[in-house]
Subunit: 189 residues, 2 copies
């Protein structure tokens, strides 16, 4: 039996996205966004939603660019910290010891320590309510050679991305492979 939970932002899983931007003063900044996901295959696009009150919001509007790093298990404290502090008050790269890298493709920085990063140019800005959704065209994905599988593609079990639990605000790891998409369902046909 199902019961009503009310109108709430419950979705399982949510990602833990490290959104990289330059502030108007040129300071590299990083924030933690769970509201986001891939939103188009051609052109390849990712959406992230930010409150207008954040330091990062103006950075995306001004530079028309952002990066999306994939938060991982070994950097859970850093990933959480950039979601607590504001770039207005602190230099988050200095506080965390993360290394800012200037993207060579878009006007935004990323942290070297996260294993996968998407470099995005701003394509659309959608006002929804408390959050503004920024749709970024993914111009390149860069991945650490150490997280690639034998076939040369990123291996999720080596990346060890964090998963955000929207119900109890916890960070989880990824569990084992259960089956292949476009395959395990064929038994139902």
């Amino acid at each position: 039996m199902k019961i009503s939970m009310g109108a709430r932002t419950l979705l399982f899983p949510a990602p833990v996205l490290m959104v990289g931007t330059y502030g108007h003063d040129g300071k590299p900044n990083l924030m933690n966004a769970a509201w986001g996901g891939i939103c188009c295959s051609q052109p390849p696009c990712v959406a992230v939603s930010l409150r207008k009150a954040t330091y990062s919001w103006a950075g995306i509007v001004e530079r028309k660019a952002f990066t999306v790093g994939i938060a991982c298990e070994t950097r859970i404290a850093e990933a959480d910290f950039v979601g607590i502090a504001s770039g207005r008050d602190v230099d988050k790269f200095t506080s965390t010891g993360l290394t800012p890298v200037r993207s060579d493709l878009v006007d935004a920085p990323y942290a070297a320590e996260f294993p996968v990063v998407l470099e995005c140019r701003l394509l659309q800005t959608i006002e929804i309510g408390l959050h503004t959704q920024f749709i970024g065209e993914i111009v390149d994905v860069k991945a650490e050679t150490g997280v690639l599988g034998e076939d040369g593609h990123p291996d999720i079990m080596k990346i060890k991305p964090l998963i955000y639990d929207t119900s109890h605000r916890g960070y989880h790891g990824v569990g084992p492979l259960l089956g292949q998409a476009f395959s395990v369902g064929k038994t139902k046909g």
Copy 2:
């Protein structure tokens, strides 16, 4: 060292969303969408991206409503099947044995067997490229009593949501709790 993977839709994790709609003939339908996520807190909104060629696309446009069920480990074959077949060719509820339930709040159905469902009314339609993004206002979330924790909120370890690996197209489970958000990062402050 990071190397270029090209402009690709790689994001970790992606969700496995069961999008429920009525076809123009009134037939309940379900599809599998990995391109989506929460996109606003107030009003609570979820975004799902569909190709215009899908049967579900017209259903959302016509009824201005959809549901989002959370695919779970015990229903991996059903979840995958609705991503392989088209509602144009088959009745996916009949094929899978899933039970269609008419939402009492929006003009869309959902499958009783998935543990959590979001009932959404269409708020915005964003044309991006190959995919159209539908932003739905979450008017209610319904959850099985069996997946609630002792505090009455949904428990991700009881839901056992599927995670989609965008790199190798695999379905994974959720791993153990690693830390609490807005907490584990305080050591970096």
